[in-house]
Symmetry: C2
Subunit: 387 residues, 2 copies
């Protein structure tokens, strides 16, 4: 079966679309990435997404805006499938299923007080009924809520796919994804699913990109190859302060997002660094990523599992200075690109949601309870019929 | 198969739960109401729902609140099924499917401008993954978006069930539901599905209840038996002004909600009537419901279709003064209670969503394109697997 996997990340730059060919069943699944593309959001839509995702008690949001954005994104996701398949030269009829993660605008993995009760929740936008209607293809969407219903944090979900792809009979491996948030999947040599665990280490590119954007007044969106960071010096006292964030010390399972490392964190970070040169600020943000990841390995990975290789995916892989600093900080490990495993780093997440959708379609649970903290594995998501 | 149907209406008072036994298939469906109950919302939750539903650019809403409310309502809906089945003395194992409409907090049936585009949308809260997880029963939820994706207004949906229940080979019938909003389903004698049409006539109990609440400072929630209205005199000039609302003149298909007749309308109504006695205000609100319904019959029903009977359901049925005024305003028609058709008026909508969920489960389209304005019938909703 051919399955399209699709999502837009926390940075809300573009819709990632992967076309995946899937053979086999259950844990014997053999998925193969056939093609991948990114379809940028119109600037006005991107601004609206970020505005909604950052809306709090201070900034005003109407329920109308949220509802309208949900449908607008559904329409754009639907068109993205059509556009991508045209680009891939694959007829829509040849696609059997779509897995749509949607655009996260809120994620509260751990319960907090609400209306006098303890409530955790997550909210992904991009109405899947529109995707099914526009394409005539069944859709599996909204992957995170079911895991949270079972007591999990609804994240991370990709580790299940990491496990399918990277498990090795003799080498312990860690899959490290450097998206806006950085996360690791720890796969002991010869592991069974219940031995795999995973968690978010903290910021990936989120603070680096945010700093670049603010300091260049949106002229630049990321630190290409890390050239800016490479020229700067880290502000060690600010770094130490950032690394005291309680998130880093909390043992897994745990997940992070804009709630911890969003606009508020970024604003405080930039305020504290306002006397510094741009290169120093970006270097400090880069070091925060590096040291929080290294710290996570030292606290929560290496004391428990023998690891030989780290397989890196996500946008951060293109930041060669970041990669160099990671290798220097964890010299005993071999850092490899996920590209070498036939899944180009940037296609990883879209690929994963195709695989997860397929498992739901076959009614197979596709979560790792040790990764999300759920009481048991669950069949993920909601199914929207084709017609 | 036994199916639970569930919803909470625009007034956000309680969760309606119906247990329905269904035999047969497709348009030969034979559904039978087995039991029904209403499970009130805690007061704090009700306040929060109304606050979110009325949040606009002025009142502040955070994306966190909306997301948390969605999960909290999912939890309460899940518990409501368990509680209802206990009350019905039916084991959860004996229930094959749940149809959950959710709590509407926004409905924009006709496209409006958003982000430079034309967008229609609807938003129902009550995360169905929680319902499936708590009960172990598969759920069909989120019925409205697919019809909107097909160009419809996503409402009204109950007419399809009215058609299944009330079609008659020799009598033309109208099903009139008096909820917060009033709606009619017009079923010509011996009609085929494509000949049935339906639309919202405007306010049902929404303005009456709202006026009572505000004027009694929440001590009363509705005009029991219409005794207050019966003692008052209508303010004819205010009535005339209200009836000039462009909604009433717009030809069907059309749907109404808080956007047209919510807090804003109510506030203006009460401001214009502030010199009047309470009984006069409530009478005027009651007349607005009566005359807008009668006007809709005269404009959009009686010139097109020969009608013998009006079958009334919804909370307004208990307002005997309202019922008397309706009968006086449309003397040529016979007004009957839906109770006489084995579906008690108050159970009607919950019953309907059980039937609609069942059709989705069987992959059968269950919409009337003339009712919603969609380009074609659609299979409604999203399916959440049991485990």
């Amino acid at each position: 079966m051919r399955v399209v996997g699709m999502l837009s990340g926390t940075s809300a730059d573009a819709i990632d679309v992967a076309l995946v060919e899937i053979h086999g069943q259950g844990s014997r699944l053999r998925p193969r990435l056939e093609n991948f593309c990114m379809i940028p959001f119109p600037a006005a839509v991107r601004r609206e997404i970020l505005r909604v995702a950052n809306a709090d008690q201070q900034s005003s949001l109407s329920v109308a805006e949220l509802s309208q954005l949900n449908f607008l994104l559904g329409e754009l996701f639907g068109r993205a499938v059509i556009q991508a398949c045209r680009r891939f030269r694959v007829s829509l009829d040849a696609v059997g299923l779509i897995g749509s993660h949607g655009q996260t605008v809120y994620h509260q993995g751990k319960p907090s007080r609400f209306c006098g009760r303890s409530v955790a929740s997550t909210l992904q936008l991009g109405e899947p009924s529109l995707i099914a209607e526009r394409t005539g293809i069944p859709v599996v969407a909204d992957f995170r809520p079911r895991d949270m219903a079972a007591g999990g944090q609804g994240a991370p979900l990709v580790p299940y796919v990491d496990y399918l792809l990277y498990r090795h009979p003799r080498h312990g491996r860690v899959a490290l994804n450097l998206g806006g948030i950085a996360n690791v999947t720890v796969i002991p040599a010869g592991a069974k699913p219940e031995e795999v665990y995973a968690f978010d280490t903290g910021p990936g590119n989120m603070i680096i990109d945010g700093a670049i954007r603010r300091l260049t007044r949106e002229r630049h969106r990321f630190d290409r190859n890390g050239t800016l960071a490479a020229r700067g010096q880290p502000d060690e006292s600010l770094l130490a302060r950032c690394l005291r964030h309680p998130y880093f010390r909390r043992p897994p399972p745990k997940s992070a997002g804009r709630e911890q490392f969003g606009e508020l964190f970024l604003s405080e970070f930039l305020r504290a660094a306002r006397q510094r040169k741009t290169a120093d600020v970006v270097r400090t943000a880069t070091e925060l990523t590096v040291r929080s990841i290294a710290g996570a390995f030292e606290r929560f990975v290496l004391p428990r599992v023998r690891i030989a290789e780290v397989i890196v995916s996500g946008g951060g892989l293109r930041n060669s200075f970041l990669m160099q600093r990671l290798q220097e900080s964890l010299p005993g490990l071999r850092f490899l690109s996920a590209d070498a495993f036939a899944i180009p780093a940037k296609a990883k997440e879209a690929f994963a949601f195709a695989v997860l959708a397929y498992q739901t379609w076959r009614e197979i649970p596709a979560t790792l309870p040790r990764a999300t903290g759920a009481r048991h594995p669950v069949v993920l998501g909601k199914i929207i019929p084709a017609r």
